[in-house]
């Protein structure tokens, strides 16, 4: 299992809001595929999948605020 976490986005950015999921639970994804779009005040940021596999858990819903380092999704390789 691989955790997809919200990476460091820059100095002073502690959190971001989930804009939307590019994928659903149980979807297959390739390494590097965008899986979720996050938004800060003036930027959107797509978080890629670190591995190829199947999305097993989606931890946050659209509109939720996520802290840097939090797990967004869990992927089974």
């Amino acid at each position: 299992m691989a955790n997809v976490t919200l990476p460091e986005l820059g100095e002073g950015i502690k959190s971001a809001v989930v804009s939307f999921w590019h994928v659903d639970k149980e979807n297959r994804v390739g390494e590097g595929d965008d899986i979720v779009e996050m938004a800060t005040d003036k930027a959107t940021f797509n978080v890629p999948s670190p591995v190829a596999g199947t999305i097993r858990e989606i931890m946050f819903q659209e509109g939720d605020t996520v802290q840097v380092g939090d797990t967004l999704a869990v992927i089974e390789e």
Binding site: L9, G10, E37, K42, A43, P48
Partner: protein, 235 residues
């Protein structure tokens, strides 16, 4: 990478001219994909758009002060788009710069990138002798504390950027009466020609904007490569 080595790597520049917002967006997505795969160098697209209102991820129609039908009757488009930020306007006389660059070659920092784009606008305006400023907590470039001249909204995927900045050069400002710019009721918009009380040569303005971009990003431009000529031709 040393600074000298970095400066040898040149940007591609695409002057897309007057182009529909949706076409420019399609071009950006294509270039982002190519940049991610390493097929092209960092590329900047320079454009003007026909009148269009766009709403970013943080925006809502509540900051549109006229009805959508009213816009449609006048041939004005309203587009929801995947950049950060709220509602804004693009139109003739406004220069838009869409850098498609891999921030891994700079710094992986969204705020730093946004501050640098502000710096591009500030340097551009200064080349006309016009002073402008950043305001903490209110992204964009301001002539006075309530008067904005340049806007920023970006998108990033795998640290490759799209969307970018806009700066009003000869923009007809009456369009801004139709929105709360950037979602702020107190925000007035101005243009370089209003500040200078003189029409500004747009071709020269394009060159100055590119030059300011280079100064900020510490790189130097080049002529359009053969690949970009083909892309530009397909627009």
């Amino acid at each position: 990478m040393t600074e000298a080595a970095r400066q040898k790597e040149l940007f591609n520049i695409i002057d897309a001219g007057m182009i529909e917002y949706s076409k420019a967006y399609g071009l950006q997505r294509e270039l982002v994909w190519k940049r991610k795969l390493g097929l092209i160098r960092d590329t900047i697209i320079l454009a003007e758009h026909k009148p269009v209102f766009t709403i970013g991820r943080r925006g809502s129609k509540s900051n549109l002060l006229v009805r959508e039908g009213w816009l449609k009757d006048r041939g004005l488009e309203l587009v929801r788009t995947d950049r950060g930020g709220d509602i804004t306007f693009h139109g003739p006389g406004q220069l838009v710069l869409y850098p498609v660059i891999d921030l891994a070659g700079f710094e992986k920092d969204l705020h730093l990138y946004i501050r640098n784009l502000e710096g591009v606008i500030i340097g551009f305006l200064l080349s006309y002798g016009v002073s402008s400023m950043r305001i903490s907590g209110a992204t964009g470039v301001w002539i006075e504390s309530d008067t904005k001249i340049g806007s920023i909204g970006i998108g990033v995927t795998r640290w490759v950027t799209y969307h970018g900045l806009s700066v009003n050069v000869n923009t007809p400002l009456e369009y801004y009466d139709m929105i709360n710019s950037c979602g702020l009721e107190s925000c007035k918009m101005t243009s370089l020609s209003s500040v200078l009380e003189n029409y500004v040569n747009i071709l020269e303005a394009k060159e100055r904007l590119i030059q300011s971009f280079f100064e900020i990003f510490k790189r130097y431009g080049t002529t359009i490569s053969s690949m970009d000529k083909k892309e530009a031709h397909l627009l």
